[in-house]
Subunit: 757 residues, 2 copies
Amino acid sequence: MMKPYLLILICLFLRITVSAEPSINPIPIKWELGYAKTATEAPSNWIPSIVPGAVQLDIAKAEKYGPLCYAENWKDYRWMEDQFYTYRTSFSKPALTSGERFVFVSKGIDYQFTIYLNGEELLSQEGMFTPVLLDLTDHLKENNELKIQIYPAPKLYPSPVDRSQASHSVKPAVSYGWDWHPRLIPLGIWDDTYLEVQPANHIDDFHVNYTLNEDFTKAELNLQLAGRNLNGLPFVWTLKDDKGLEVLKSEGKTNLSFPNPQLWWTHDHGQPYLYTSTIQLLNASGKVIQTLESKIGFRRIKLVMNEGAWNEPKGFPMSRSVSPAQVELNGRKIFCKGTNWVNPEIFPGIMTRERYNDLLTLAKDANFNILRIWGGGIVNKESFFELCDEKGILVWQEFPLACNNYPDDAHYLSILKQESASIINRVKKHPSLALWGGGNELFNAWGGMTDQSLPLRLLNSQCYEMDPSTPFIPTSPMMGMGHGNYVFRDLNTKEEVFSNMARAHYTAYTEFGMPSPASVEILKTIIPKEELWPPKPGGSWESHHAYKAWVGSTWLCQEIIEDYFGTSNSLEELVANGQLMQGEGYKCIYEEARRQKPYCSMATNWCYDEPWPTAANNSLISYPSIPKPGYYAVKNACRPVLASVQLSKFKWSEGELFFADVWMLSDLPKDLPSGKVKIKLVAGTTELVLLNWEYNPMKANVNQVGPTVRCKLPAWSTDRFKVVLEVEGHPEYNSEYTLAYQPRSVESKRTTPVMNQ
Amino acid sequence: MMKPYLLILICLFLRITVSAEPSINPIPIKWELGYAKTATEAPSNWIPSIVPGAVQLDIAKAEKYGPLCYAENWKDYRWMEDQFYTYRTSFSKPALTSGERFVFVSKGIDYQFTIYLNGEELLSQEGMFTPVLLDLTDHLKENNELKIQIYPAPKLYPSPVDRSQASHSVKPAVSYGWDWHPRLIPLGIWDDTYLEVQPANHIDDFHVNYTLNEDFTKAELNLQLAGRNLNGLPFVWTLKDDKGLEVLKSEGKTNLSFPNPQLWWTHDHGQPYLYTSTIQLLNASGKVIQTLESKIGFRRIKLVMNEGAWNEPKGFPMSRSVSPAQVELNGRKIFCKGTNWVNPEIFPGIMTRERYNDLLTLAKDANFNILRIWGGGIVNKESFFELCDEKGILVWQEFPLACNNYPDDAHYLSILKQESASIINRVKKHPSLALWGGGNELFNAWGGMTDQSLPLRLLNSQCYEMDPSTPFIPTSPMMGMGHGNYVFRDLNTKEEVFSNMARAHYTAYTEFGMPSPASVEILKTIIPKEELWPPKPGGSWESHHAYKAWVGSTWLCQEIIEDYFGTSNSLEELVANGQLMQGEGYKCIYEEARRQKPYCSMATNWCYDEPWPTAANNSLISYPSIPKPGYYAVKNACRPVLASVQLSKFKWSEGELFFADVWMLSDLPKDLPSGKVKIKLVAGTTELVLLNWEYNPMKANVNQVGPTVRCKLPAWSTDRFKVVLEVEGHPEYNSEYTLAYQPRSVESKRTTPVMNQ
């Protein structure tokens, strides 16, 4: 392990600061990669390296490994986590005019590394989120060799081989193996990295800090420049609106007032308005030395008490009221609909703006206004946040702690302090940032941390000092929030999602899952033909998380699916029924959470995407960005306005008294006129109209309770039927729900789900 | 309001630092006091002032007010909160040798003030906990006049006249009126204050920081000196044991190892071992310039998860587990028995070491090992903490926030930062410090703060930065802790304390009250003869909190007392029955909390003392330090070892099946042999032996469950009976409980308490 104090001294000496701004004039580097078993051994072989990326991908390419996602090929990559890697590149001394500096810039190197120029150690660092800005000028020779030695993946101990190995480092725990992520630990240069000639005077980092006044009619701005030799140098800063018109200008003043700013809103509550901020650094004679451009959005975000939450608890002895979970954006309480985002790649170094854009476009289309960036994974690259800013999607950013007991240890705390400072400094600029979170499930038994854990007290302190206007919570779930369930019906009590949710009482459902198999097309690309049918534990199905992933037979859950619909005759049938149940289950939770508004203020499912093609998973999107049918079900459940029913169970029998509570749900920030909903049951080609409900005019952002529809179920010859809601003149509000059905003639040999336990 | 930035600049310029050490050579000051309606008006009259004290006490003395505690005299003092006060004193220029400085030192001036020397403003400060160290040297004339102008009590608004007026200042809220504290807001110089000639080189503040290794075999020490012109000056530091033998010495080294330190324990778990630390500052020729002596105790304190708490909650959706409340001292989990300490004086400026000692001696005698210093009051003077260190009593110190919504306001935050820094820097030196608390009941509806409130995030950050090894909780109750009830039976549900506690499930009962009237002797000193009997609302009884204090007829609760024992025929009878019920109610809670060990780890009643003689209150001690009968009941319930019964209700009838569960309780840190308990009922002179229980050998710090004793209650002619437990050969473990009894012959016209609701 490193000596933290030495590291800090080196960092100070070499002037490492955060630089999230694009380079003026980057010089591309041609990298080579080698590896060895020990730190002192020289690599015997050098292969081409693609940067940013991961050492594993370079080796796989050079050594012609089988496709990572196919069958159990991933196991061939396992040895790579324990090697020492060296990146190298050569360059001639550049011509520098007076005062110019030649710098090495990297936005992220994963995880522990030492940088050498011509054999001289210039920097040793632990931490993938703290960018490197190394001034090479005074160390240059005519011909130069830059080397970066990367240490093996950090592990607390050799075994058990699981996520707890990551509990003493600021390395995302997910890559140590999760129920939907193979054990593969990325190493290497994972974000933009280049050489650059910089002028003698240089802005390394620029912030526009602001405070909005109470009624949002004024922003008080403070311009904050950091860099080299900036003292007394003139600068010009301008703010342009979204049409490119200049609306504010400063010549050297750092404090300004900006009247009547357009506010940044989530896409469903207004426009995610962005201004363009441009700072130009001038030399003494007024010539522009450097220009930095970025976007800025003005918004105020708070986490306030949920409506009704102060009325609890009741009676003595009395504990505290729950933690607040209601997001208030620009003074408006908004219901957060969203999802848990996980690394979309096993090796996030290859993530690009385009890949982020595909996934974020789908997220916006799904009517999501918030993403929880789960603490088991990385903090995404800049383009992710830029796209969230543009698309009007809030980001709940967790620090890289998950399901582990991170220690009160001086070394760990020093690295966490460094890494969190880098993360906060970079991400706080984004209007989409809604919430800092300490990490995932840290206050539950399997996390084992408490309010007293120093890493979480440190993170609270860091966020308070550096970004006090953004809410901070130490973990999710907090008191009053709920995580789970992750299956259609509980594996022990067999209670279904319908009754479980109806009796749940939480301020926010911040994780809930509903598994489904991947589509047959995807399964065929990852499971060898001979294993494809029937699915079974061991081999590729298990490697791709269909078996022994969480508990029970997750995530395929074949016996639950077949308990409702009978033994599947084909892979196609199994997949179709599993995907249907995912959609119906997710709809139930999103819509029930919305019915519980305003006490409830958030619903974010587990999980959105996945880092490789799973065979079965809770995700809505198959790798890389292929929506499952469940995605469309959730998209419908999250529409601003819809007709909805509260169902009590999934399977119904002929002659049984069917009932369902009808609702109109609205998160729309404006009033709506009255209307009419037709509720009918549809089985095959048979239709049965139950009711025409005339609902009253709807207040902005308020739901309306309707009647309970009831009917004795007729004899149908199908194994399923639909509840269909049609809103007159507003097909965009229509909804439908598919339920399992059992005709009297069919002798049931299946377990009936146990309800209301 | 003040300009905080200006204040900070002034403070820096004038070198204000903390000086908790005694002065070498204090020059006493003769003060005079005057007051005026406005800031600019000069006082028309000057009266003698006693410092430390309060302006109100000086005026009352000079203007011959009636005794504060008698009848409703306190109302005559109310006007004083709105005046501008000026302290003044005169002195000649002292003779100073080369480099010597002449300084003004005050450990506390309450609350907002400006200090002038010869008409020149030297300091303006808001905050009573930040000491003043003013170097006057360069401002001296031949004849000098020092003036301190004190502003009126801070109020957010003129009305309502209640504690919420204090919600934007770091002024203890209690003096704005509480259910046991009259509305009287102290102002003035409230802690030691003097002039002093100091050498050119001077230690203002000295800390011995230490870390204990995992098995307590070594302490790593760091000596931290702050002051004037200390650079490069030699010093000698020694550590002496409790026999005065030198065990460690440093000549100029600031980092030292100390092998095998004697640990500091609470009095019930070991010896509160204190070493003597002496630092001597030398000049270049080796002569001692300054000597500072203080005590130091070595201990490690943590707040860890309560046993069994990780098993909750169960089922999905799942929230977090509770906050930890188990105190671990030097690696040992200890059950905390204690009480809530409130200001022992309305005007805490007159508190002395002797007064603290009286109360703390009683606290130790009551078997208390922890005091919660409630956030509605002040942070006590140094002698309080020194005595807790000596007596081995833990201190849970809250910051001065209580039952208010303290704002996310820049000015308030800046004062809170300054004041909390001063408090932490002073108090963290004491081994008795167990826990920092943000304040009282801030996360309940009447507090209205949340996890997001910036004042509490600031306090976490301050404590983390300045004293990370001491636990911090933002408020009490936290999740899993309980506050209340405060009456023998619930005012709405009429559920008695017995059944309420039996079904309670909390990690810590950090506030619970049980009212009783004051003794007749005390009542006669505060209630005029003509009002004394019968008690009634309005007038002196109400002024002294017998009526309209909290809710219902608190705190006298005459109707509850008489519901059990019939209409009182005299003040003596009412008081006796009320005091009996306080004792029995408190015993029930302390002993039930102990029975719930290890899930439960703490019981601290509301409240210990009181700031003036109340007519009725939850306190165990009447003003100034007169134990009530309830004190002795609690003292018995908190013995390290005792025989105990769990009762189900207070009143029993002839012929009814009486039952009670027998226990042996032990918090003793060592094993005990087996023994025998005789359980009997005693009514008047009649005895009925129910059982001789032979209990097994007892493990250290573990309770033992015994049998349930049962019997049909015989006919007695009394209105009460006792359950008596006698432990053979160990009368110090004996216990007894008094219960109300109703013979069949007596027709009841009273309400029967409702049970098990």
